[in-house]
């Protein structure tokens, strides 16, 4: 049937493809002590009671194993282009009118704000990008990645998922420390230099967070700001998805400018749905959505950038006041603002 199950012994498989160990264990295959056999031979002599007890389907298992090895090999191939571009071609508004732009081009390192009232179609635009729409979604838009439409298998592949998402109400639910958590994620991404990467993410997260945390803090005990800081640093550095969707970064306890800078420095495309003037002005462009379609595209002007300076100063004042409150000081506000 296949070389992996007919020619390789189990121990050869394990040496060549170390991830097969987890696969065997996840499928409850009692292979220990039988490593000298090929999988085909192993299943031939396996006690039918064990097959039933562990719900093993040898035929399905061997087929899956072959797929899994091929799939995991893709993870190791690092010929993915680091630069990514998205081109959006127009579809229609809810009322059937054609969207009025020719095309929108976004490339790695750009920050795009998406603005529009609730229910206007922001999520649909983000979904069109995530799915790499090909005139087959309700808007009729076409989205090209690196200048071409994606093949069906690329759309469904979880190894090159296009989009990573950071949303407002995310939490950590796993019961482990910061270090264990980062280790688990790094392991699942098959990164080579785990220790260094874990340390980098940890340091970055601490610069983003208002209050420092340690590596042995349980992730479920992190404050809102610390959690978000860790999620952002982890996504920027460990996630392979070239596009990051952000659904409003909350103000409290995190340096948002640093967070965006970090994402962009990792060559991510950042798309954020926001109504916060500071975040929106940090973007290179704003896509305005109304009535299900893209109404206009605004490039941030020089004037607007000047306002951004003032807004950031205001924001800083607020942050300072927060710090003062946190450490039990009385609040003073200078009148210059």
């Amino acid at each position: 049937m296949d070389k992996y199950t007919q020619e390789y012994t189990i121990s050869q498989l394990l040496t060549e493809y170390p991830f097969v160990k987890d696969f065997l264990e996840d499928h409850l295959i009692p292979y220990r002590g039988k490593e000298h056999l090929t999988l085909d031979a192993f299943f031939k002599y396996l006690d039918p009671n064990i097959i039933e007890e562990n719900a093993i389907n040898p035929d399905l298992f061997t087929k899956s194993l072959v797929e899994y090895i091929d799939l995991m090999k893709q993870y190791f191939v690092s010929n993915k282009p680091k630069q990514t571009s998205i081109t959006i071609y127009p579809g229609t508004h809810k009322d059937g009118r054609k969207e009025s732009f020719d095309s929108i081009h976004i490339k790695s390192g750009e920050i795009i704000a998406i603005v529009g009232p609730t229910g206007s179609g922001k999520s649909r635009l983000l979904a069109d990008i995530e799915w790499a729409a090909n005139d087959d979604t309700p808007t009729g838009r076409t989205v090209h990645i690196n200048g071409r439409a994606l093949e069906p298998h690329e759309r469904f592949s979880s190894s090159n998922k296009l989009v990573a998402q950071l949303s407002q109400n995310m939490n950590f639910v796993m019961d482990m420390t910061v270090e264990e958590f980062l280790d688990l994620h790094a392991t699942s991404r098959l990164v080579k230099d785990k220790e260094t990467i874990i340390q980098t993410i940890f340091n970055k997260a601490n610069t983003l967070a208002g209050e420092a945390f340690t590596k042995d803090t349980p992730i479920t005990e992190l404050s809102g700001g610390q959690s978000r800081a860790l999620m952002i640093a982890d996504t920027a550095i460990l996630s392979t998805s070239p596009i990051i969707l952000i659904d409003e970064i909350e103000n409290a306890g995190i340096d948002r400018k640093l967070a965006l800078d970090l994402l962009v420095s990792e060559d991510k495309i950042v798309l954020m749905s926001t109504h916060d003037p500071i975040l929106a002005l940090m973007g290179d462009k704003r896509i305005v959505i109304n009535n299900g379609g893209i109404d206009s595209i605004i490039n941030s002007s020089e004037e607007e950038r000047n306002i951004l300076g003032k807004l950031e100063a205001l924001d800083k004042t607020l942050m300072t006041l927060r710090q003062q409150l946190r450490y039990g000081k009385t609040i003073e506000l200078k009148e210059e603002y």
Binding site: D22, F23, D26, H27, L28, E52, E53, A55, N57, L60, K63, S64, E67, Y68, L71, S123, L126, A127, W131, D136, T137, P138, F156, S158, A164, Q165, L166, S167, N169, M170, N171, F172, V173, M174, F181, L184, H185, S188, R189, S227, L230, M231, D234, T235, L238, S239
Partner: protein
């Protein structure tokens, strides 16, 4: 009529996902019907009925719901065909994580959620391992990293499945799911003679037959003992 079997652990979001997906089918003018299988209680049929589509529910009561499913699916398909449906969806909760209601050559969708813990993919048997499409829900409330780790765990027990993330509240991903699960050229006239993808667990002991007393002398049939070692 195309037939789609959807299953997944209780409260994983099967019904929410289906409600969102069916809305998209309806917008395309497709005639959809649902049969919901459950054990003791369900009012999900009320939610489906609100979409103004034909819906039936089957409660297995004292029987194993998956055994109940397979004993009734033939009649359910006949009902769907009599209703002139384009798509018939069956929804059932895999209660002991061991059975799976999937049928050879019939599209099988398994719904699981990000909150269920990273070892859950390993605990769920054929229901997850032999599904064609795995839908992962509740992604909006966990971190990106947890989503990625969870997806990897699912992939390692079922590498050939298409894994999709769908949000049952906002409906994000439901449109895409609707394009994946329906095949307009597939016509299921009858299931007579078709086969389950995986056998149901063998169980025929005195307790299956209503025994309530505890103790060796009351246990007959397929009884297996826990290994506790020397005491």
């Amino acid at each position: 009529m195309d037939l789609i079997t959807v299953s997944g652990p209780p409260s994983s979001g099967k019904t929410s996902i289906l409600l969102r997906t069916i809305e998209h089918f309806k917008q395309r003018g497709l005639h959809v019907g649902v049969v919901k299988f459950d054990c003791l209680f369900t009012d999900d049929d009320v939610y489906f009925a609100k979409l103004d589509i034909p819906v039936k529910k089957g409660l297995s009561g004292s029987l194993c719901p998956d055994h109940y499913f397979v004993s009734n699916i033939e009649e359910v398909v006949e009902w769907g065909n009599n209703q002139n449906l384009d798509i018939l969806i069956t929804e059932s909760a895999g209660l002991c994580n061991r059975c799976s209601p999937y049928i050879k050559d019939i599209k099988a969708v398994c719904v699981i959620d990000n909150l269920s813990g990273i070892n859950t993919p390993k605990k769920i048997g054929p229901m997850l391992k032999s599904a064609d499409i795995v839908v992962i829900t509740k992604g909006d409330i966990v971190s990106q990293a947890e989503r990625e780790v969870f997806t990897m765990k699912v992939q390692s027990v079922n590498p050939k499945a298409i894994i999709m993330h769908v949000n049952g509240l906002s409906g994000q991903g439901a449109y895409e799911l609707s394009t994946l699960i329906y095949d307009k050229d597939k016509h299921v006239a009858t299931l007579e003679g078709e086969q389950l993808r995986y056998p149901m667990p063998s169980a025929l002991c005195s307790y299956c037959l209503g025994e309530t007393r505890i103790g060796k002398k009351h246990q007959v049939g397929n009884v297996r003992k826990i290994k506790l070692g020397d005491s």
